[in-house]
Amino acid sequence: MILHELISYDLLRVIWWGLLGVLLIGFALTDGFDMGVGALLPFTAQTDVERRIVINTVGPVWEGNQVWFILGGGAIFAAWPPLYAVSFSGFYLAMFAVLACFIVRPVAFKYRSKRDGYSWRNRWDWALFVSGAAPALLFGVAVGNVIQGVPFHFTDDLHTIYEGAWYAKFIGLLDPFSLLAGVVSLSMLVMHGGAWLTVKTTGEVQKRARAYGSIAALVAVATYALAGIWLAYGISGYRIVGEVVADGPSNPLYFQVERTASWLSAYADRPWIAIAPVLGILGGLLTFAGLRAGREITTLLFSKLAILGVISSVGLTMFPFIMPSSSDPRSSLTVWNSSSSHLTLFIMLVVTVIFMPLILAYTAWVYRVLWGKVTAKDVTENSHSVY
C-alpha cells in the first residue's frame, strides 16, 4: 500500500493527537453527565420515584455513552500503543478502581429496579453514586499526574519499568496538585450532570439539580483557576532538546528532553491557545448563571463549552508531550515518538472518517427519539420497561 503516503507521517500524528482529544472530550460530554448524575443521585432524589426519575434520565443512553470510554481504550491502543502500555500498567491499581466502577455501573443501572425492596435498591443507589463520583475524581487525578510527569523509564528493548514499590506507586498518585485536578474533574462533571438533569426533569428534582449544579460550577471554576496559578508558579514543565524529528520512527529513546521552569511558556510561544482556558472559565461561569436563571438547553451547551475548554487546555499546554517521565525525561512520550506506524495511523483515520459521522448521526437520532422530560408518570406507568 502506498496510499498512506498521501498524508505525511507528522501530520497524521498531529491529527491523531487531535482525535485523542476528541475522544476524551466526547467521553466527558456524554458519559460525563452519566457520572455527574450518578454523583448527584443521593442529593437530588429522596423518594424511590424521584430516584427512578433521575436514573431514567440517563437510562436509555448511558450504555452508548460508555462506549466512548471503551473506544478511548481501543483507539489509544491502536494509535498510541506506548501510551496504552505505559499508562495503564503504570496507573495499575487506580485503573483497577476505575474498571471496578465501570463494571458495577451497568449492572446497577440494569438490576436496581428489577427487584422491590428498600435495601436492594438503596444498595444499588450507593453503587451508582460511587461508580459515578469515583471515576470522575480519578480521571482528574490521572491528568494531574500526567501534567507533573510520571516516574517511569524504558529499557533498551522498550520494556517499561516503574520506579518505586507498588503501594508507593498508588499512594504517590494522590499528591496535592493531582487531588486538586481530581476536584476540578469531579466538580465539572457534577456541574454537567446538574445541567443535564435540569433539561430532563421538572419540579423538586430539577430545583435540587440546579442548586447543586450551580455550586459545582463555582467549585469547578475556582479550582480550575487555582490549578492554573499553581501550574504557573509551582510545577515545572518539559521540552524537547535539539532537533525535533517529527516523522521519525516511534521510539521514545530517540529524543532528548529536559525540565523547564513551567508548562505555561507554551502560552508565550503559541498565544492563541489561551482561548482554551478562557473558554473553560467563561463556560463554567455561564453555566452557573444559566442554572441560576433557570435556562435549560442553553445551560447544557455552556456546560459543554466549559468541558471542551478545560480538557483541551491541558492538551494544548502540554503539546507535543503526551506523558512525560519525571524520573527519566528522555523516556517521555510525545506526539513524535509514541504513535503507531504511518500505515496504521492512516488506516485508522480512514475508518474513523467513515464511522464517526455515522455514529454521531445515529446517536443524535436516538437522543431525538428520547427527547423530553422524564416524569413521575413515566416511571410509574412503565415500571416493567424502564429502570
Binding site: P60, A78, Y84, A85, S89, V386
Partner: protein
Amino acid sequence: MEFGIVELSRLQFAMTAMYHFLFVPLTLGLSILVAIMETVYVMTNRPIWRQMTKFWGMLFGINFALGVATGITMEFQFGMNWSYYSHYVGDIFGAPLAIEGLMAFFLEATFVGLFFFGWDKLSKVQHLVVAWLVAIGSNFSALWILIANGWMQNPVGAEFNPMTMRMEMTDFFAVLFNEVAQAKFVHTVSAGYVTASVFVIGVSAWYLLRGRHAELARRSITVASAFGLASAFSVVLLGDESGYDTSLNQKMKMAAIEAMWETEPAPAPFTAFGFPDQAARETHYAIHVPYVMGLIGTRSLTTQIPGISDLVAQAETRIRSGLIAYDALMTVRAERDATPPEVMQTFEDHSADLGFAFLLKKYIDDPRQASDAQIQAAAADTVPTVWPLFWAFRIMVVLGFGFIGTMAYFFWRASFRQMQYPRWALHVAVWMIPAPWIAAEMGWFVAEFGRQPWTVDGVLPTAMSVSALSMTEVALTLAGFVLFYTVLFIIEMGLMLKYIRKGPFQDVAETEAWVARHHNRLAGRRNADAIAQPAE
C-alpha cells in the same frame, strides 16, 4: 513450574476472559433470536410474538449487562497486565479493537437502550430495525475481536521493525482476511447461536414441563430449533475448517491436541481416547481410528502431519537462526542508520525467527550466551501441556455433535409432530442448558492454551509479554476480580431465575383488543385458541 508474575497474569487473563465469555455467546445468539421473533411479530401482528420478543428480550438484557461490564476489563487489561505485548504488537492488534468500538460497540450500545425504552416512542418497523441493529452490532464485535485473536494465532501482514523494536503492520487486508480469523469468526458466532438456541429450548421445555406459558414455549422451541440446527451444523463444519487451518499454521497446537508424539505415515490415525503422558511422549491405552486424522488435518491421503518430536527439533533450528537475528539486532540498535548493510541483510534473513530467540530470555538475559542445554530446554518449551488440550478438545467435539442431534430432534418434532414433545425430551433439554457454555469455554481453552508458550504464535513468548508489576498488585486485582465477578454472577443468576420463574409479562389490553379484532377469523379455525391466546 514455578509460579511467578507470568503465571499470575495468565491466570487473571484466563479468569476474566473465560468469565466474559459466559455472557458473550448468549448475547450473540439471543440478539438474533429476539430480532427474528420481532420480525414475525411485525409481519403477523400477533401479540404472542410481541410477548415473546419482550420476554426473551428481558433475559437478553440481564445477560447483556454483564457482558458489557466484563468486556470493559478485556479492553484495558492488555495495557494493564501485558504492557510489553501492547507495545510490541499494538500497531497491528490495536486496530481491530478500535474498529470494533467504532463499528460494533457504538451500534449495539446506542440502540440497546432504545430497544428497551423505545417501545412507545417508535413505530413497529422502527423498533424492529433497532432490534436488528443491536443484533448486527453484537455480531460485528465478534468479527473484529476474532480478527485480533486470529492474528495472535497466525500473525500475517506484519513485520518486525528494528528501529521501533516492535511488529508493524505491512498489509491491513492480510490481517483482515486472515483465513484463521474468518474460520474462527463463523465458528464462534455459530457457537453463540447454538448457545442461545439451547437456552431458549431449555427454558421453554421447563415451562412445558410445568404446564405454563405453553403458547410462548412451543413457538420459541420452533424458532430456536430451526435456528439452532443450522448453527450446530455450522459450528461443527467451521470447527473442522479451524482444525484444518491449525494444521497448516500451528502445527504444534495440532500435534498437542491429538497427542501425536511422533510423525505417523500419512494418512495419520485419529486418537479417539487415551491418556497422554508428556514425560514419556506416549499415549497410554490409546484407541486409534485409522486415516481420520490425516483426512481432517490435511484433506489428503499423502500429506504427513508432523509429530511433536519432529516439531521440537524444528524449533531448535529456529532458535539457532533466531540467535543470529538477535545478534544482528543488537548491532542495528546500537548503530541505527549507520548499520552496515551486510548486518542489516543478516537481520532480515533471520528476523522471522527472532521470536524463537526470545524463548531463551526465560533462562538468560542475553540469549546469545545461552548454552546448548538451555537451547534444548527452550525448544522443549514450545510443546504446550498435552493432556488438558487432548481432553478439552474431545469434550468440545462430543458436545458439538450432541447439539446437532438435539437440535435435529426438536426441529423434527416441531415441524412434523405438531410441536408435541415427550417429557423425557423436555427433561433432556432442561439439563442440556449448561452444555454449550462448557463447549465454548473448552474451545477457547484449546485455542489459547494450545498456543502456549506464545502470546503471538512464533513471534512473542508469553513470558516476555507481561508488565513489570509486583506479585502483590496482580494478586490484589485478581482477588478483586474474583470477588466482584462472583458477587455479580450470583446476582445475575438470581435475577435470571426470578424472571424465568415469573414468566412473560403479558399486555392484557393489547391481547384482548387483538383477539376481538380477529374474532371472526379465529372462530373459523379448529384450534383457534392455540394461535393467539395469551399463555395464562
